[in-house]
Symmetry: C2
Subunit: 153 residues, 2 copies
DNA sequence: TATTGTTATACTCTATAACTATA
DNA sequence: TATAGTTATAGAGTATAACAATA
């Protein structure tokens, strides 16, 4: 269809090419976040807020909005829904009455845990066709890659 | 916040755990498709259709809709827009007059190529803080991982 | 009768501006 | 005055059912 890019001879750029291709392959063969989100009953923004709160703890609404790039006005219905569902609690910050903080409940943890289990079942199914040797190689490359990625930023 | 899952002692399951963590790390540190999509001027569905057509060649509209899980009625405005922008052409299938096929133009290739370059610049920037040794390790683990992933499915 | 694609339409999510209350 | 959050509202994207054209 399109003509291909010539592979860059520069070492860093060729590494970037390989990383880019890996990301495409992962997206195609292993884990497509877009498709995954569609399977949730809740819209993506709601799930992202829940995930954020479970991992960051109690936060002001505007902080969540900024970090997730959700506009402030749209936070209101999202927060309303999550409160109504029992996934978060909302309370005024005692130090600054302008600020409303939100915090995930144990129901939120249960919900995300259930999603995590489903995702992992799906992952296990996908890699289960590999040979023992390939699984071992897969594990070592995943660990090496993870170690290095954690050094970034 | 939540209590952590105990790591599974089963070998395949612990591999899945590591893969899951890697995907989270990649999403957080390297490449967040959701945020990326927001930077496109076009909505996600349009970009996905373009990407699909560039990689699959001429296709019936319903085939694109099925593969990308876009409902048929919503394909009409998407296709209209991409035709108006000069990114695809639309023509009746000579063998079956019910079918309308669409095909990416060279402008579509140019557009996606430009996006690819931007993404790679971003990737290069992110990994450029790593040491030479880590870059070498990164490259070898990416290649090993890619080789194995290509065996899946 | 079955299939491809479109039209019509209601619904959900999002983006922007103007507002209230607290600081 | 500046900031946090809300209200109001218009617009963009999506889902569903009913339809016309072709097989």
């Amino acid at each position: 269809m399109c003509t291909n890019n010539p592979n860059d001879s520069n070492k860093l750029n060729s590494l970037t090419d390989n990383l880019y291709k890996l990301l495409l392959t992962l997206n195609k063969k292993i884990f497509n976040i877009q498709d995954l989100m569609k399977k949730f009953k809740a819209p993506g923004s709601h799930v992202k807020v829940l995930f954020y709160l479970v991992h960051h703890g109690s936060s002001p609404i505007s902080e969540v909005a900024n970090d997730l790039m959700i506009s402030k006005p749209n936070m209101t219905p999202i927060i309303d829904k999550l409160v109504a569902d029992g996934f978060i609690t909302r309370y005024y910050d005692p130090n600054d009455r302008r600020v409303i903080r939100v915090e995930a409940t144990s129901a939120a943890c249960d919900f995300l845990r259930a999603q995590e289990i489903k995702i992992k079942e799906n992952l296990t199914e996908k890699i289960s066709t590999l040979s023992i040797e390939d699984l071992d190689k897969l594990n070592s490359s995943i660990q090496q890659l993870s170690d290095i990625l954690l050094k970034i930023q």
